[in-house]
Each structure stands twice: as C-alpha cells, then as structure tokens.
Amino acid sequence: MPSAKTFALANLKGGCGKSTLALNLAAGLAQRGSVALLDADPQGALQHWSQWAAGDVSAGMEVHAGSTVERLDELASRFDYVVVDCPPSVDMNITGRFLKRVDQALIPVLPSPLDLWASSSASQAIDKARGSNPGLKAWLLLNQVEDKSALSRAMSQVLGQMPLPILQSTVKRRAVFRLAMLEGKSVYQLGPRARDAVQEIESILQEVL
C-alpha cells in the first residue's frame, strides 16, 4: 500500500514553470526524506536534467520516467515523497489520472491573463478528479512574480477570488532557477546566491506539508 506523500505539479497550460518547481520542491523534500521525482511529461525535461546533473542530484532524490499511476504507486511504496511533473494540456488524460491518485496538486500560474484563463480549466479538472479522489488538496501557486509589477499584484488579488485556494507563498522570477538547471543542480545546491529562492521553496513546503 503506498505510504508516501504524493504531489502533482499540474496545469493545462504549458510554460508555467511546472518542471522547475517540481525539481526544486523535490530537492526541498529531499531535506526531509527520500524523494522520487516522476517525470510524466513527454518532453522529458527532468530526465534530461538528471542526465546532465549526472551524480550531482540531491542526496535522497531519484528521477524516474513514467506516465502511469502504477508507476506512481510503485514509487510511493519505496519513497517518503513522490513529486509528479505532469504533462501540459495535450496530455490531459495523463494529468487527470494522476490527479485522481495524488494527495496534493500544485497548479503554477504565471502573472498573465493567459494563465488566469487556464486556471479556470484547472479548477474544473480538480473538481472532476475529486469525484474519485475526494481527499485531493489543490492550490494555485503564483509563479515568476515580477517585482514592482502592477499586473503581478493584480493577478494575486484576482487569483485569491478563484474557486481554488491560492498559496500565500509565491515564487519570484529569478535567474537563479534557470542557472541551477544549467548547472545540473537544484537551487539548494547553489549556496548563498540562491538563498532567497530556497526560502521561497521552503515557504511553499511549509504551507503544504
């Protein structure tokens, strides 16, 4: 019987930072226990990252490929946490199956009208998944927030009135997240230059754990 806490990074829209957040949240969870990062996105960005990282992946964290709930269950039986990087909308069936299985769903949303509109569809997908997974917890997560942007602030206010709750924690648009990818690392492995980014990831984990 799966005993791990399972998370899905899901959104019907691509390009909202699912993979980057999945990777760094998994790295944060690796500070707390063993973690499997399940790359269910056919683009395979996280598998590419893990190959690039070679032996540099955080201790206690493994990256696996797979797009079935059976794979999720198998990993959940061996690890303390499983983080699923779901594919974008073209593979909604895959995302839907994971949403019916995981404990928690995080839906990254960029401060953009396109993402705001897509979040309405995400809310419907969560409602549908709760038909067979009534305990599913789901949050919107404002990602790549820009400092001093009136639109980012307005988005935060408007998302707060959406059917899905929004996390208080937000993630700013920071080059260090992309730099970590390039170096085959998570932000946890970049030292003082990624201190603020790590604090943001930690803040998210404190809210959802």
Partner: protein, 71 residues
Amino acid sequence: MSKNTLQDKLKASIQSPAATRPRTTRTAAAKTASESKPVEAVAPAPAPAAKPAKPAEPKKIYLNDDRVWPD
C-alpha cells in the same frame, strides 16, 4: 493604469471575454456569413506552366536615323 482597473479587467476577462471585449474588426453580418460557410477542401494550385521562350525582338528600323537602315 490603476490597480483597480487591472483587477477589474482581469476579472471581466474570466467571466465573459466576448461581452467585455467587443469585436471591432468584423461586423455581425460578416461573422455570421463566414462562420456559416462550409469549409471546402482546396485543391493545390497547379504548378505554373513553363514560360515560353521570348521571341527574338524584330530588328528595329529607324527611317530618320542612321543607326539601322532597311535592307
């Protein structure tokens, strides 16, 4: 632009994009006509025929000129 205006626009864009963002480039009649028109498969245009070789230009004759005189 004030914060409230941005928020209002974002809210309105979720609730009813069509109602709050009137189309200005197409009339209602044009929209109906174009949307009711069945889509037909369009055959690819035939490749243009090879251009015939340009006939040699006849020799110009200038009666009041000494460049070329008729034979």
